[in-house]
Amino acid sequence: DDKLLTEPLKHPDFFSVKELFTLKDLFDARVHLGHKKGCRHRFMEPYIFGCRLEQDIIDLDQTMQHLQLALNFTAHVAYRGGIILFVSRKRQFCHLVESTARACGEYAHTRFWQGGLLTNAHVQFGPGVRLPDLLIFLSTLNNVFEPHVAIRDAAKMNIPTVGVVDTNCNPCLITYPIPGNDDSPAAVELYCKLFRMTIIRAKDRRRQSEAVEELR
Protein backbone atom coordinates (compact mmCIF):
# COMPACT_ATOMS: atom_id res chain seq x y z
CA ASP A 1 0.00 0.00 0.00
CA ASP A 2 2.85 2.31 0.89
CA LYS A 3 4.53 1.48 -2.41
CA LEU A 4 1.34 2.30 -4.30
CA LEU A 5 1.32 5.79 -2.81
CA THR A 6 5.03 6.63 -3.07
CA GLU A 7 5.65 5.23 -6.58
CA PRO A 8 3.86 8.04 -8.54
CA LEU A 9 5.66 10.75 -6.57
CA LYS A 10 9.05 9.70 -7.95
CA HIS A 11 8.19 10.64 -11.55
CA PRO A 12 7.72 14.28 -12.67
CA ASP A 13 4.87 13.33 -15.03
CA PHE A 14 3.66 9.91 -13.89
CA PHE A 15 0.29 10.20 -15.63
CA SER A 16 1.76 11.67 -18.90
CA VAL A 17 -0.50 14.64 -18.66
CA LYS A 18 1.50 16.60 -21.28
CA GLU A 19 0.12 14.44 -24.10
CA LEU A 20 -3.46 15.48 -23.39
CA PHE A 21 -3.18 18.95 -24.94
CA THR A 22 -1.05 21.00 -27.32
CA LEU A 23 -0.60 24.73 -27.75
CA LYS A 24 -2.62 24.60 -30.95
CA ASP A 25 -5.55 23.01 -29.07
CA LEU A 26 -5.48 25.89 -26.59
CA PHE A 27 -5.33 28.45 -29.36
CA ASP A 28 -8.21 26.85 -31.29
CA ALA A 29 -10.33 26.82 -28.14
CA ARG A 30 -9.70 30.59 -27.77
CA VAL A 31 -8.06 30.17 -24.34
CA HIS A 32 -5.71 33.10 -25.00
CA LEU A 33 -8.48 35.71 -25.21
CA GLY A 34 -8.81 37.87 -22.12
CA HIS A 35 -11.06 40.77 -21.21
CA LYS A 36 -10.57 44.43 -22.13
CA LYS A 37 -7.71 46.52 -20.74
CA GLY A 38 -9.96 48.31 -18.25
CA CYS A 39 -10.99 45.02 -16.56
CA ARG A 40 -7.42 43.89 -16.06
CA HIS A 41 -6.47 42.76 -12.55
CA ARG A 42 -3.05 43.97 -11.31
CA PHE A 43 -1.86 40.51 -10.29
CA MET A 44 -2.63 39.03 -13.72
CA GLU A 45 -0.07 41.26 -15.45
CA PRO A 46 2.74 38.65 -15.32
CA TYR A 47 0.53 36.17 -17.20
CA ILE A 48 -0.51 38.56 -19.98
CA PHE A 49 1.37 38.35 -23.29
CA GLY A 50 0.17 41.66 -24.62
CA CYS A 51 -2.74 43.87 -25.49
CA ARG A 52 -4.27 44.19 -28.95
CA LEU A 53 -6.98 46.79 -29.67
CA GLU A 54 -7.52 47.05 -25.89
CA GLN A 55 -8.13 43.29 -25.52
CA ASP A 56 -5.65 41.40 -23.32
CA ILE A 57 -3.98 38.31 -24.74
CA ILE A 58 -2.89 35.65 -22.24
CA ASP A 59 0.58 34.08 -22.66
CA LEU A 60 -0.12 30.53 -23.78
CA ASP A 61 3.41 29.29 -22.97
CA GLN A 62 2.83 30.11 -19.30
CA THR A 63 -0.66 28.65 -19.54
CA MET A 64 0.80 25.39 -20.85
CA GLN A 65 3.15 25.13 -17.85
CA HIS A 66 0.46 26.00 -15.32
CA LEU A 67 -2.05 23.66 -16.93
CA GLN A 68 0.46 20.82 -16.88
CA LEU A 69 1.18 21.38 -13.16
CA ALA A 70 -2.53 21.64 -12.34
CA LEU A 71 -3.50 18.51 -14.29
CA ASN A 72 -0.62 16.59 -12.75
CA PHE A 73 -1.73 17.62 -9.27
CA THR A 74 -5.38 16.70 -9.99
CA ALA A 75 -4.25 13.31 -11.28
CA HIS A 76 -2.28 12.65 -8.11
CA VAL A 77 -5.24 13.63 -5.91
CA ALA A 78 -7.58 11.40 -7.92
CA TYR A 79 -5.03 8.55 -7.77
CA ARG A 80 -5.10 8.73 -3.96
CA GLY A 81 -8.91 8.62 -3.88
CA GLY A 82 -9.38 12.24 -2.93
CA ILE A 83 -12.70 14.06 -3.18
CA ILE A 84 -12.65 16.62 -6.01
CA LEU A 85 -15.23 19.39 -6.09
CA PHE A 86 -15.85 21.32 -9.32
CA VAL A 87 -16.97 24.89 -8.65
CA SER A 88 -18.24 27.40 -11.20
CA ARG A 89 -20.77 30.14 -10.89
CA LYS A 90 -21.24 30.70 -14.63
CA ARG A 91 -24.84 29.93 -15.48
CA GLN A 92 -24.05 29.00 -19.09
CA PHE A 93 -21.75 26.17 -18.05
CA CYS A 94 -23.56 24.95 -14.94
CA HIS A 95 -25.02 21.92 -16.70
CA LEU A 96 -21.74 21.10 -18.46
CA VAL A 97 -19.70 21.22 -15.25
CA GLU A 98 -22.20 19.07 -13.36
CA SER A 99 -22.24 16.49 -16.17
CA THR A 100 -18.42 16.45 -16.22
CA ALA A 101 -18.30 15.85 -12.47
CA ARG A 102 -20.84 13.08 -12.72
CA ALA A 103 -18.91 11.43 -15.58
CA CYS A 104 -15.70 11.43 -13.49
CA GLY A 105 -17.40 10.12 -10.38
CA GLU A 106 -16.55 13.34 -8.53
CA TYR A 107 -18.63 16.18 -7.13
CA ALA A 108 -19.84 19.56 -8.37
CA HIS A 109 -21.18 22.76 -6.88
CA THR A 110 -22.41 25.25 -9.48
CA ARG A 111 -25.20 26.76 -7.39
CA PHE A 112 -25.52 29.38 -4.71
CA TRP A 113 -22.71 28.87 -2.18
CA GLN A 114 -24.06 28.79 1.36
CA GLY A 115 -21.76 30.59 3.79
CA GLY A 116 -20.74 27.80 6.12
CA LEU A 117 -20.36 24.98 3.62
CA LEU A 118 -16.66 24.34 4.22
CA THR A 119 -16.10 26.22 7.46
CA ASN A 120 -19.27 25.05 9.22
CA ALA A 121 -19.63 21.64 7.55
CA HIS A 122 -20.02 19.63 10.76
CA VAL A 123 -23.11 21.59 11.70
CA GLN A 124 -24.61 21.79 8.21
CA PHE A 125 -24.10 18.20 7.09
CA GLY A 126 -23.51 16.09 10.18
CA PRO A 127 -20.73 15.03 12.54
CA GLY A 128 -18.71 12.68 10.30
CA VAL A 129 -18.48 14.64 7.03
CA ARG A 130 -15.38 14.39 4.87
CA LEU A 131 -14.49 17.69 3.19
CA PRO A 132 -13.27 17.86 -0.42
CA ASP A 133 -9.54 17.34 -0.90
CA LEU A 134 -9.31 19.52 -4.00
CA LEU A 135 -11.40 22.36 -5.39
CA ILE A 136 -11.37 22.99 -9.14
CA PHE A 137 -12.68 26.39 -10.23
CA LEU A 138 -13.80 26.63 -13.84
CA SER A 139 -14.45 30.30 -13.10
CA THR A 140 -13.12 32.06 -9.98
CA LEU A 141 -15.65 34.91 -10.05
CA ASN A 142 -19.24 34.72 -8.88
CA ASN A 143 -22.27 36.34 -10.50
CA VAL A 144 -21.40 39.80 -9.12
CA PHE A 145 -17.82 39.68 -10.53
CA GLU A 146 -16.27 39.27 -7.09
CA PRO A 147 -13.88 36.50 -6.04
CA HIS A 148 -15.78 33.34 -5.14
CA VAL A 149 -16.13 32.78 -1.39
CA ALA A 150 -14.90 29.20 -1.79
CA ILE A 151 -11.35 30.39 -2.61
CA ARG A 152 -11.03 32.06 0.76
CA ASP A 153 -12.77 29.23 2.60
CA ALA A 154 -10.58 26.58 0.99
CA ALA A 155 -7.49 28.55 1.98
CA LYS A 156 -8.87 28.72 5.53
CA MET A 157 -9.49 24.97 5.65
CA ASN A 158 -6.10 24.10 4.04
CA ILE A 159 -7.72 22.62 0.94
CA PRO A 160 -5.60 23.04 -2.24
CA THR A 161 -7.29 24.81 -5.16
CA VAL A 162 -6.89 24.63 -8.93
CA GLY A 163 -8.54 27.50 -10.80
CA VAL A 164 -8.88 28.97 -14.26
CA VAL A 165 -8.10 32.67 -13.79
CA ASP A 166 -9.14 35.18 -16.42
CA THR A 167 -7.60 38.65 -16.80
CA ASN A 168 -10.12 40.16 -14.37
CA CYS A 169 -9.59 37.56 -11.60
CA ASN A 170 -7.37 37.57 -8.52
CA PRO A 171 -4.94 34.61 -8.67
CA CYS A 172 -3.58 35.18 -5.16
CA LEU A 173 -5.11 32.49 -2.96
CA ILE A 174 -5.30 29.79 -5.63
CA THR A 175 -2.66 27.06 -5.28
CA TYR A 176 -2.47 26.13 -8.98
CA PRO A 177 -3.82 29.00 -11.09
CA ILE A 178 -4.33 28.40 -14.82
CA PRO A 179 -4.34 31.74 -16.66
CA GLY A 180 -6.89 31.37 -19.45
CA ASN A 181 -10.26 32.36 -20.83
CA ASP A 182 -13.24 31.31 -18.71
CA ASP A 183 -16.03 32.86 -20.77
CA SER A 184 -15.97 31.11 -24.16
CA PRO A 185 -17.90 27.83 -24.43
CA ALA A 186 -15.07 26.29 -26.47
CA ALA A 187 -12.48 27.04 -23.77
CA VAL A 188 -14.65 25.73 -20.91
CA GLU A 189 -15.48 22.57 -22.87
CA LEU A 190 -11.75 22.03 -23.41
CA TYR A 191 -11.02 22.40 -19.69
CA CYS A 192 -13.84 20.04 -18.76
CA LYS A 193 -12.57 17.49 -21.27
CA LEU A 194 -9.00 17.72 -19.94
CA PHE A 195 -10.01 17.40 -16.28
CA ARG A 196 -12.33 14.52 -17.06
CA MET A 197 -9.62 12.66 -18.97
CA THR A 198 -6.99 13.18 -16.24
CA ILE A 199 -9.25 12.04 -13.44
CA ILE A 200 -10.45 8.97 -15.30
CA ARG A 201 -6.88 8.15 -16.31
CA ALA A 202 -5.64 8.48 -12.73
CA LYS A 203 -8.43 6.32 -11.33
CA ASP A 204 -7.86 3.62 -13.96
CA ARG A 205 -4.15 3.68 -13.14
CA ARG A 206 -4.96 3.24 -9.47
CA ARG A 207 -7.23 0.28 -10.16
CA GLN A 208 -4.58 -1.32 -12.37
CA SER A 209 -1.87 -0.87 -9.70
CA GLU A 210 -4.13 -2.34 -7.01
CA ALA A 211 -4.96 -5.33 -9.25
CA VAL A 212 -1.24 -5.88 -9.91
CA GLU A 213 -0.49 -5.70 -6.16
CA GLU A 214 -3.25 -8.19 -5.38
CA LEU A 215 -1.95 -10.62 -7.96
CA ARG A 216 1.37 -10.57 -6.12
Partner: protein, 367 residues
Protein backbone atom coordinates in the same frame (compact mmCIF):
# COMPACT_ATOMS: atom_id res chain seq x y z
CA UNK B 1 -24.36 26.74 37.71
CA UNK B 2 -23.20 23.14 37.77
CA UNK B 3 -24.28 20.95 40.65
CA UNK B 4 -22.08 18.16 41.84
CA UNK B 5 -23.98 15.68 43.95
CA UNK B 6 -22.94 12.62 45.89
CA UNK B 7 -24.35 9.50 44.39
CA UNK B 8 -24.08 6.29 46.36
CA UNK B 9 -23.01 3.19 44.46
CA UNK B 10 -24.50 0.14 46.07
CA UNK B 11 -22.27 -2.87 46.54
CA UNK B 12 -19.15 -1.04 45.37
CA UNK B 13 -17.20 -1.79 48.57
CA UNK B 14 -14.67 0.70 49.99
CA UNK B 15 -15.42 3.38 47.37
CA UNK B 16 -19.13 3.54 48.01
CA UNK B 17 -19.51 7.23 47.27
CA UNK B 18 -18.43 8.92 44.03
CA UNK B 19 -18.87 12.49 43.00
CA UNK B 20 -20.53 12.64 39.61
CA UNK B 21 -21.82 15.55 37.60
CA UNK B 22 -25.60 15.16 37.59
CA UNK B 23 -27.04 18.49 36.60
CA UNK B 24 -25.89 20.86 33.88
CA UNK B 25 -27.17 24.29 33.07
CA UNK B 26 -29.89 24.59 30.44
CA UNK B 27 -27.47 26.47 28.18
CA UNK B 28 -25.05 23.52 28.17
CA UNK B 29 -27.86 21.07 27.46
CA UNK B 30 -29.12 23.11 24.55
CA UNK B 31 -25.58 23.41 23.13
CA UNK B 32 -25.07 19.64 23.29
CA UNK B 33 -28.43 18.99 21.64
CA UNK B 34 -27.69 21.48 18.83
CA UNK B 35 -24.23 20.08 18.16
CA UNK B 36 -25.55 16.56 17.65
CA UNK B 37 -28.12 17.85 15.14
CA UNK B 38 -31.38 16.14 14.15
CA UNK B 39 -31.13 12.37 14.63
CA UNK B 40 -30.13 10.56 11.50
CA UNK B 41 -30.95 6.91 11.12
CA UNK B 42 -28.57 4.60 9.30
CA UNK B 43 -29.94 1.88 7.06
CA UNK B 44 -28.60 -0.81 9.39
CA UNK B 45 -30.50 0.77 12.29
CA UNK B 46 -33.79 0.78 10.39
CA UNK B 47 -33.24 -2.82 9.27
CA UNK B 48 -32.62 -3.91 12.85
CA UNK B 49 -35.79 -2.12 13.96
CA UNK B 50 -37.80 -3.92 11.27
CA UNK B 51 -36.42 -7.30 12.38
CA UNK B 52 -37.26 -6.53 16.00
CA UNK B 53 -40.75 -5.45 15.00
CA UNK B 54 -41.41 -8.67 13.09
CA UNK B 55 -40.13 -10.78 15.96
CA UNK B 56 -42.24 -8.82 18.45
CA UNK B 57 -45.29 -9.28 16.20
CA UNK B 58 -44.91 -13.07 16.31
CA UNK B 59 -44.44 -13.01 20.11
CA UNK B 60 -47.57 -10.89 20.46
CA UNK B 61 -49.56 -13.28 18.26
CA UNK B 62 -48.42 -16.20 20.42
CA UNK B 63 -49.37 -14.32 23.56
CA UNK B 64 -52.85 -13.62 22.24
CA UNK B 65 -53.23 -17.21 21.11
CA UNK B 66 -53.54 -16.30 17.40
CA UNK B 67 -51.78 -17.49 14.27
CA UNK B 68 -48.46 -15.55 13.83
CA UNK B 69 -48.65 -15.83 10.03
CA UNK B 70 -51.98 -14.02 9.67
CA UNK B 71 -51.52 -11.34 12.32
CA UNK B 72 -52.44 -7.99 10.75
CA UNK B 73 -51.78 -4.43 11.95
CA UNK B 74 -55.36 -4.11 13.23
CA UNK B 75 -54.89 -7.24 15.35
CA UNK B 76 -51.67 -5.71 16.73
CA UNK B 77 -53.49 -2.49 17.63
CA UNK B 78 -56.26 -4.41 19.37
CA UNK B 79 -53.78 -6.60 21.24
CA UNK B 80 -51.78 -3.60 22.47
CA UNK B 81 -54.94 -1.78 23.54
CA UNK B 82 -55.94 -4.91 25.48
CA UNK B 83 -52.56 -5.56 27.11
CA UNK B 84 -51.71 -1.94 27.89
CA UNK B 85 -54.99 -0.16 28.65
CA UNK B 86 -54.40 3.54 28.85
CA UNK B 87 -56.73 6.27 30.01
CA UNK B 88 -54.78 9.03 28.26
CA UNK B 89 -56.86 11.37 26.18
CA UNK B 90 -54.42 11.92 23.30
CA UNK B 91 -54.49 8.89 21.00
CA UNK B 92 -50.86 9.49 19.99
CA UNK B 93 -49.69 9.39 23.61
CA UNK B 94 -50.95 5.83 24.14
CA UNK B 95 -48.62 2.83 23.68
CA UNK B 96 -48.32 1.91 20.02
CA UNK B 97 -46.56 -0.76 18.00
CA UNK B 98 -46.25 0.09 14.34
CA UNK B 99 -43.94 -0.82 11.47
CA UNK B 100 -40.67 1.20 11.76
CA UNK B 101 -41.24 2.87 8.39
CA UNK B 102 -44.30 4.55 9.92
CA UNK B 103 -42.65 5.38 13.22
CA UNK B 104 -39.35 6.81 12.02
CA UNK B 105 -40.07 9.71 9.68
CA UNK B 106 -38.76 9.18 6.21
CA UNK B 107 -35.61 11.21 6.30
CA UNK B 108 -32.14 11.23 5.13
CA UNK B 109 -30.04 8.31 6.20
CA UNK B 110 -26.30 8.94 6.37
CA UNK B 111 -25.24 10.26 2.99
CA UNK B 112 -21.73 8.86 2.68
CA UNK B 113 -20.07 5.46 2.59
CA UNK B 114 -17.39 3.94 4.78
CA UNK B 115 -14.54 5.74 3.04
CA UNK B 116 -16.31 9.05 3.62
CA UNK B 117 -17.16 9.72 -0.03
CA UNK B 118 -20.76 10.96 -0.39
CA UNK B 119 -23.10 8.93 -2.62
CA UNK B 120 -24.68 11.80 -4.55
CA UNK B 121 -22.57 13.95 -6.88
CA UNK B 122 -24.31 17.14 -5.71
CA UNK B 123 -23.99 16.36 -2.00
CA UNK B 124 -21.83 19.41 -1.24
CA UNK B 125 -24.49 21.85 -2.48
CA UNK B 126 -26.64 21.11 0.58
CA UNK B 127 -29.87 20.59 -1.37
CA UNK B 128 -28.91 17.57 -3.44
CA UNK B 129 -32.37 16.30 -4.44
CA UNK B 130 -33.63 19.72 -5.50
CA UNK B 131 -30.54 20.59 -7.54
CA UNK B 132 -30.38 17.16 -9.16
CA UNK B 133 -34.04 17.62 -10.13
CA UNK B 134 -33.19 20.99 -11.70
CA UNK B 135 -30.22 19.38 -13.47
CA UNK B 136 -32.41 16.60 -14.92
CA UNK B 137 -35.15 19.01 -16.00
CA UNK B 138 -32.60 21.25 -17.72
CA UNK B 139 -31.19 18.19 -19.47
CA UNK B 140 -34.67 17.37 -20.80
CA UNK B 141 -34.95 20.96 -22.00
CA UNK B 142 -31.65 20.68 -23.87
CA UNK B 143 -32.80 17.37 -25.40
CA UNK B 144 -36.00 18.95 -26.66
CA UNK B 145 -34.07 21.90 -28.13
CA UNK B 146 -31.66 19.53 -29.88
CA UNK B 147 -34.57 17.54 -31.32
CA UNK B 148 -36.16 20.77 -32.47
CA UNK B 149 -32.94 21.84 -34.21
CA UNK B 150 -32.76 18.47 -35.96
CA UNK B 151 -36.34 18.81 -37.21
CA UNK B 152 -35.68 22.36 -38.42
CA UNK B 153 -32.55 21.17 -40.25
CA UNK B 154 -34.67 18.55 -42.02
CA UNK B 155 -37.46 21.10 -42.74
CA UNK B 156 -40.06 19.03 -40.93
CA UNK B 157 -43.06 20.53 -39.10
CA UNK B 158 -42.42 21.01 -35.40
CA UNK B 159 -45.73 20.33 -33.67
CA UNK B 160 -47.96 17.44 -34.61
CA UNK B 161 -51.20 18.01 -32.73
CA UNK B 162 -52.43 20.51 -30.17
CA UNK B 163 -52.12 19.51 -26.54
CA UNK B 164 -54.92 20.05 -24.07
CA UNK B 165 -53.39 22.28 -21.41
CA UNK B 166 -56.44 22.91 -19.24
CA UNK B 167 -57.39 20.57 -16.44
CA UNK B 168 -53.84 20.09 -15.14
CA UNK B 169 -52.04 21.71 -12.29
CA UNK B 170 -48.42 21.55 -11.16
CA UNK B 171 -47.43 19.88 -7.86
CA UNK B 172 -47.75 22.12 -4.82
CA UNK B 173 -44.71 23.02 -2.74
CA UNK B 174 -45.67 20.54 -0.01
CA UNK B 175 -46.11 17.73 -2.53
CA UNK B 176 -42.69 18.55 -3.99
CA UNK B 177 -41.15 18.50 -0.51
CA UNK B 178 -42.67 15.07 0.08
CA UNK B 179 -41.33 13.86 -3.26
CA UNK B 180 -37.78 15.08 -2.60
CA UNK B 181 -37.72 14.32 1.16
CA UNK B 182 -36.08 17.66 1.83
CA UNK B 183 -37.15 21.23 2.50
CA UNK B 184 -37.74 23.41 -0.55
CA UNK B 185 -37.90 27.18 -0.17
CA UNK B 186 -40.51 29.33 -1.94
CA UNK B 187 -37.95 30.81 -4.36
CA UNK B 188 -36.62 27.37 -5.28
CA UNK B 189 -40.13 26.09 -5.87
CA UNK B 190 -41.10 29.00 -8.12
CA UNK B 191 -37.84 28.58 -10.05
CA UNK B 192 -38.60 24.92 -10.65
CA UNK B 193 -42.15 25.66 -11.80
CA UNK B 194 -40.86 28.33 -14.18
CA UNK B 195 -38.37 25.86 -15.66
CA UNK B 196 -41.16 23.31 -16.15
CA UNK B 197 -43.34 25.94 -17.84
CA UNK B 198 -40.45 26.84 -20.13
CA UNK B 199 -40.08 23.16 -21.01
CA UNK B 200 -43.79 22.74 -21.70
CA UNK B 201 -43.90 25.89 -23.85
CA UNK B 202 -41.51 24.42 -26.44
CA UNK B 203 -43.25 22.95 -29.50
CA UNK B 204 -41.48 19.57 -29.36
CA UNK B 205 -42.10 18.96 -25.65
CA UNK B 206 -44.15 15.85 -26.48
CA UNK B 207 -40.95 13.82 -26.33
CA UNK B 208 -40.64 14.40 -22.60
CA UNK B 209 -44.36 13.93 -21.88
CA UNK B 210 -43.71 11.13 -19.41
CA UNK B 211 -41.24 13.21 -17.40
CA UNK B 212 -43.58 16.21 -17.27
CA UNK B 213 -46.49 14.05 -16.14
CA UNK B 214 -44.58 13.20 -12.98
CA UNK B 215 -45.02 16.81 -11.87
CA UNK B 216 -48.55 17.57 -13.05
CA UNK B 217 -51.83 16.50 -11.56
CA UNK B 218 -55.29 16.49 -13.02
CA UNK B 219 -57.88 18.83 -11.62
CA UNK B 220 -61.22 17.11 -12.03
CA UNK B 221 -64.00 19.52 -12.90
CA UNK B 222 -66.25 20.18 -9.92
CA UNK B 223 -69.29 18.68 -11.56
CA UNK B 224 -67.77 15.26 -12.16
CA UNK B 225 -68.13 14.28 -8.52
CA UNK B 226 -71.76 15.22 -8.11
CA UNK B 227 -74.19 12.77 -9.72
CA UNK B 228 -77.28 14.45 -11.17
CA UNK B 229 -80.32 12.19 -10.81
CA UNK B 230 -82.33 11.45 -13.93
CA UNK B 231 -85.95 12.63 -14.35
CA UNK B 232 -88.71 10.51 -12.88
CA UNK B 233 -92.22 10.22 -14.33
CA UNK B 234 -95.44 10.04 -12.27
CA UNK B 235 -98.80 8.35 -13.20
CA UNK B 236 -99.95 11.18 -15.46
CA UNK B 237 -96.71 10.97 -17.50
CA UNK B 238 -95.41 14.33 -16.22
CA UNK B 239 -91.65 14.52 -15.56
CA UNK B 240 -90.67 15.54 -12.04
CA UNK B 241 -87.56 15.70 -9.90
CA UNK B 242 -86.87 16.13 -6.16
CA UNK B 243 -84.28 18.14 -4.33
CA UNK B 244 -83.32 18.79 -0.71
CA UNK B 245 -81.93 21.93 0.83
CA UNK B 246 -80.85 23.32 4.19
CA UNK B 247 -80.26 26.82 5.49
CA UNK B 248 -79.48 27.65 9.14
CA UNK B 249 -81.89 25.29 10.99
CA UNK B 250 -84.47 25.00 8.20
CA UNK B 251 -84.60 21.93 5.96
CA UNK B 252 -86.77 21.66 2.87
CA UNK B 253 -87.69 19.16 0.17
CA UNK B 254 -88.96 20.35 -3.21
CA UNK B 255 -90.64 18.40 -6.01
CA UNK B 256 -90.51 20.26 -9.35
CA UNK B 257 -93.04 19.15 -12.05
CA UNK B 258 -92.68 19.80 -15.77
CA UNK B 259 -95.43 21.27 -18.03
CA UNK B 260 -96.62 23.53 -15.26
CA UNK B 261 -98.03 27.01 -14.88
CA UNK B 262 -95.70 28.43 -12.26
CA UNK B 263 -97.81 27.42 -9.23
CA UNK B 264 -95.75 26.96 -6.03
CA UNK B 265 -97.16 25.31 -2.88
CA UNK B 266 -95.37 25.24 0.47
CA UNK B 267 -96.59 22.84 3.19
CA UNK B 268 -99.96 22.73 1.38
CA UNK B 269 -100.27 26.54 1.40
CA UNK B 270 -99.81 28.84 -1.59
CA UNK B 271 -96.62 30.94 -1.44
CA UNK B 272 -98.53 34.25 -1.45
CA UNK B 273 -100.06 33.25 1.90
CA UNK B 274 -97.06 31.39 3.33
CA UNK B 275 -94.47 34.10 2.46
CA UNK B 276 -96.20 37.50 2.73
CA UNK B 277 -92.87 39.29 2.35
CA UNK B 278 -91.73 39.99 -1.24
CA UNK B 279 -88.06 39.21 -0.47
CA UNK B 280 -88.82 35.56 0.40
CA UNK B 281 -90.88 35.05 -2.77
CA UNK B 282 -88.04 36.55 -4.84
CA UNK B 283 -85.65 34.04 -3.27
CA UNK B 284 -87.98 31.19 -4.26
CA UNK B 285 -88.31 32.40 -7.84
CA UNK B 286 -84.57 33.12 -8.36
CA UNK B 287 -83.56 29.65 -9.71
CA UNK B 288 -86.43 29.70 -12.22
CA UNK B 289 -85.70 33.27 -13.24
CA UNK B 290 -82.00 32.48 -13.71
CA UNK B 291 -82.84 29.60 -16.06
CA UNK B 292 -85.64 31.51 -17.79
CA UNK B 293 -88.28 28.90 -16.82
CA UNK B 294 -90.65 30.98 -14.70
CA UNK B 295 -94.01 29.85 -16.05
CA UNK B 296 -92.92 26.37 -17.08
CA UNK B 297 -92.65 24.46 -13.81
CA UNK B 298 -94.93 23.62 -10.86
CA UNK B 299 -93.44 23.12 -7.41
CA UNK B 300 -94.63 21.39 -4.26
CA UNK B 301 -92.41 21.82 -1.19
CA UNK B 302 -92.31 20.88 2.46
CA UNK B 303 -90.22 22.87 4.89
CA UNK B 304 -89.65 22.80 8.66
CA UNK B 305 -87.46 24.58 11.17
CA UNK B 306 -85.74 27.92 11.02
CA UNK B 307 -87.31 31.30 10.47
CA UNK B 308 -88.91 33.02 7.51
CA UNK B 309 -85.73 33.85 5.63
CA UNK B 310 -84.05 30.52 6.45
CA UNK B 311 -87.02 28.57 5.09
CA UNK B 312 -86.97 30.63 1.91
CA UNK B 313 -83.25 29.97 1.43
CA UNK B 314 -83.71 26.25 2.09
CA UNK B 315 -86.48 25.97 -0.51
CA UNK B 316 -84.39 27.92 -3.01
CA UNK B 317 -81.50 25.46 -2.65
CA UNK B 318 -83.87 22.48 -2.86
CA UNK B 319 -85.53 23.77 -6.03
CA UNK B 320 -82.16 24.56 -7.67
CA UNK B 321 -81.00 21.01 -6.95
CA UNK B 322 -84.21 19.60 -8.40
CA UNK B 323 -83.91 21.76 -11.52
CA UNK B 324 -80.48 20.25 -12.32
CA UNK B 325 -82.17 17.21 -13.81
CA UNK B 326 -84.16 19.32 -16.31
CA UNK B 327 -81.22 21.29 -17.59
CA UNK B 328 -78.00 20.83 -19.67
CA UNK B 329 -74.56 20.42 -18.04
CA UNK B 330 -73.45 23.87 -19.13
CA UNK B 331 -76.42 25.47 -17.44
CA UNK B 332 -75.75 23.45 -14.29
CA UNK B 333 -72.19 24.87 -14.31
CA UNK B 334 -73.66 28.38 -14.70
CA UNK B 335 -75.97 27.72 -11.75
CA UNK B 336 -73.03 26.50 -9.67
CA UNK B 337 -71.04 29.62 -10.52
CA UNK B 338 -74.05 31.81 -9.64
CA UNK B 339 -74.07 30.23 -6.18
CA UNK B 340 -77.45 28.54 -6.50
CA UNK B 341 -76.12 25.08 -5.73
CA UNK B 342 -73.86 26.00 -2.78
CA UNK B 343 -75.03 25.30 0.74
CA UNK B 344 -74.87 28.53 2.74
CA UNK B 345 -72.52 27.71 5.62
CA UNK B 346 -73.48 30.63 7.84
CA UNK B 347 -75.05 29.56 11.16
CA UNK B 348 -75.63 31.40 14.40
CA UNK B 349 -72.29 31.92 16.17
CA UNK B 350 -72.15 30.80 19.77
CA UNK B 351 -71.97 33.19 22.68
CA UNK B 352 -68.59 33.23 24.46
CA UNK B 353 -68.02 33.51 28.21
CA UNK B 354 -66.87 36.95 29.29
CA UNK B 355 -68.75 38.56 26.42
CA UNK B 356 -72.37 39.55 26.02
CA UNK B 357 -72.83 37.96 22.61
CA UNK B 358 -70.73 36.20 19.97
CA UNK B 359 -68.77 39.39 19.26
CA UNK B 360 -70.21 42.08 21.54
CA UNK B 361 -68.10 42.67 24.64
CA UNK B 362 -69.46 44.02 27.91
CA UNK B 363 -69.52 47.76 28.28
CA UNK B 364 -66.09 48.96 29.26
CA UNK B 365 -66.10 51.26 32.21
CA UNK B 366 -63.03 53.34 32.82
CA UNK B 367 -63.49 53.22 36.59
Amino acid sequence: GRVLRLCRRWGAGPRAQTLRLICTTTAMQRKNAEASGPEKYTEAFIKKQIEEFNLGKRHLANMMGEDPETFTQEDIDRAIAYLFPSGLFDKQARPLMKHPTEVFPEQRKIQWGEDGRPFHFLFYTGKQSYYSLMHETYEKLLNVQKHQDQLIAQDLPLQKEKRNLAGNRWLTKIELEEMLVEKVSDDDYSRFIRLLQKLVALPCADIEEKYIQKFSKEVPAQLQKVVIEPLQYDERGVAFSTGEGKRKTASATAVVYDNGTGKITVNGIDILHYFPVLQDREQLLFPFQFLGRIGKHDMVCTVSGGGRSAQAGAIRLASAKALRSFVTEKEVEFMRQAGLLTVDPRVKERKKPGQEGPRRKFTWKKR
